[in-house]
Symmetry: C3
Subunit: 331 residues, 3 copies
């Protein structure tokens, strides 16, 4: 007996296999290529719905808890907007200090179980890797959506990145791109490669400082998963026919010391109009999961290929609307 | 002239006497047994409404300010969900630092009067005992609901505790239970006994360390109010036929020194599967106002008698929905 | 291509000239006298709508971002209530620390562009003068409303002050009033004089300590803009036939040292029942933009002429409802 709109129907971390209703979304690995296509089809509808400017009541009467144990204004805003654009309502805990019961010593599991009693789904952001899985296991009745758990997973980010490629090129196979930044540690780069590995014949040029190359075991894993990887350490090695550039920042929190971080930052790559002019085709798109910090010169913003502050951000809204509708059984 | 949905109709702290509309809810003592039954009848409807999963518009167009001058994620979430499940909207001030006018030196009374101008009711959480009464006296037009003012009152907590007993046993008289914890200081224990004192023939076993026994004046007061009290200091004295166990934590803020607190914590009682097996009947329920900190072993969670993270939390939602609908004249 | 309800149609800071739809509201100087009258007419409707207690769906399906980079509970509550009273929804970032991307080093411009992707309008509060203009220039698609940018502008405050005068006297010309406080630095005093300068034949008595008189250039500017100004330094010089008193606090942040501030505070003027009895007519109104700190004795609150916690606060709601409806093309 539960007050929720849709009851959880399965083992946490089970594959979606076409049936999203009532399932936790903890890891991108729960999706098959068909699942991704299903999300994309619905995201396309969501986009039309938002552009059509008609109020939507798909989630009318639905209440979604947004539990953000660390601040993340973009992801928070995107999920909150997704719920509200669909006519649903949110329970918002944005600030870890206001999760008072936690301050009083309550366990994370209890907090999750309290909020599942109030709402139809929980969107969780947490600094600790594995927190989303723990939340999903704690919630008895309502689905949990991982909105980023530390350096572990952020499946809706991967979905929106893939959707941005799909929307532009009409496919997710036979694409060649550059991913630049901290190939060793970057969650977004690793996740996007895992996403692409569901599809055929993708080639990635990994551009990073020598010291931030992918671990050999990760390199082998991705190669075994269908991705052709070329490691490069200079912009001069970017092939001119890439369909996309995916630029990411070097994150301070990944390094043991500030010295080490500063050394890496000194070697980072920044997209400028000149770099685009020399190495990029007219048909490519330039992506960034944001925030861009040292990644892309603002001079580039007006370029028609710069989608990071345009369709990429908006696609986060559309794909999250799709995910919520699917999980809540309202697609 | 006011923009509100329902105007305050009476003197603050007056008895409800069957007429909730437009009244402040500052203290549980405003309720008669019939008032409590009225809330319960409506809470039952609210439960059906939520379980029925149909969007509800009972509070459509109503705006409820949630002014939380101290964090309390559970109570905040419960009231916010109650408003939204009824189709209403909230003005949320969750963080005392964002009550900027207060920081600038504005009086509490002025803040209340500003927010009553924006909304149809105010739900107030405040660390200072008596704050709810001051707010109720300051608000000229809209009802104020006390969501906890320090160690003073938290009437909706008492209502949900009583409702949990009522829902399970179909009555609030002729019940025997244990209340464990800090009998001297615990607001929830005192309030629940006051609630039960509205009904006939209730017996409470107060389990606490010797030093945390009820004050003699409180003991006499409760006895004069119809409650049979037995003070016990060991689990061995729990009778096997109790209908409920109500376990509460020992709160650090009630003690002058950490030494004193630690001494009491060392003597506290914790529910374990073994304790339940030995002293509890199969028909009883195990309650906790939460957060549970040292009160109940997580091993107990799956026991069918453990209602603290199940019906007790949910009943908070249903009873607050009922209270809001009654006070706003939409029952 | 945008998902928004109404697209921006013009150059930032352009005059409104009767056409609010899709325009940024950065400065009060964008309004003509006719624009102000248009807002007032609609604010009157909004008041009836709120008093009529019927749910309104004028902004149904509309999502308004409230980006508050500094806390301001009154302005936040007023804008949030305005959106929700019209049936719209909000994206709320109340606490600067939760604008995490900013903490991570994201530029203000990027943050604005991210939130415009999620919503149909942005209401911005920011401590830095000029921030609203920067936001308006950054937002490509949705209108930005300035809810206060430091000591620079707070146009909706000016509108509500003017509306309070208009509602009481049926006109904005031929009014005589006192404005008391820090004439040198006060944003609200300067803005209200600019507002009145759109209309004919207004006279203002500026009551301030000698050291806080208006700058000579500002004095000349206001005189050239149609306002008759008398500078006075004692309550004894208040004429008995003023239609309004507009009292403002002396703000600490305007002074270089605490000594200087304390010296000025020692010379400030406070409204008491005695002062009203001696110098105020029965027909005048007493206004304060709030918070009142040292400006008005609480003894005065019950006086029928004291509108600061009554119609003045409520008029903030009605005029902001009007502004939002106009800018979003739903008037």
């Amino acid at each position: 007996m539960s007050q929720i709109a849709v009851e959880k129907t399965y083992d946490t971390l089970a594959m979606i296999n076409g049936d999203f209703k009532g399932k936790d979304i903890v890891s991108f690995d729960q999706f098959s290529a068909d699942d991704v296509r299903r999300i994309f089809a619905l995201a396309g509808h969501m986009k039309q719905l938002v552009l059509g400017k008609e109020p939507c009541q798909l989630l009318a009467g639905q209440l979604v808890s947004l539990l953000f144990f660390e601040p993340s204004s973009r992801t928070f805003g995107s999920f909150a907007a997704a719920v509200k654009r669909l006519g649903g309502q949110t329970l918002e805990i944005q600030n870890p200090e206001t999760v008072s019961s936690v301050n009083k010593g309550e366990t994370f599991e209890d907090t999750i179980r309290v909020f599942e009693a109030y709402s139809d789904a929980i969107v969780l952001r947490h600094p600790r890797p594995g927190a989303a899985l723990r939340a999903a296991e704690s919630a008895e009745f309502v689905p949990v959506l991982n909105a980023g758990d530390g350096n572990n997973e952020h499946p809706s980010q991967t979905v929106l990145d893939l959707y941005t490629l799909y929307e532009r090129f009409g496919r997710l196979d036979n694409l060649t791109g550059v991913m630049a930044g901290d190939a060793l540690n970057s969650r977004t780069i690793h996740s996007l490669m895992r996403g692409l590995s569901l599809f055929e014949n993708n080639t990635v040029y990994l551009l990073s400082p020598e010291k931030l190359r992918l671990k050999r075991e990760d390199l082998n894993m991705f190669r075994s998963r269908n991705i052709t990887i070329h490691e490069i350490t200079s912009e001069r090695d970017i092939p001119r026919d890439c369909q996309y550039w995916y630029w990411t920042r070097i994150q301070k929190e990944r390094f043991g010391s500030l010295t080490e971080y500063n050394e890496m930052v000194a070697q980072r790559f920044t997209v400028t109009p000149a770099l685009l002019a020399e190495y990029a085709s007219q048909e490519m798109i330039l992506m960034d999961p944001l925030p861009r910090i040292g990644t892309i010169d603002t001079e580039v913003d007006k370029d028609h290929r710069a989608v990071y502050l345009r369709s990429q951000v908006r696609n986060g809204l559309y794909t999250r609307m799709a995910l919520l509708a699917l999980v809540l059984g309202r697609a």
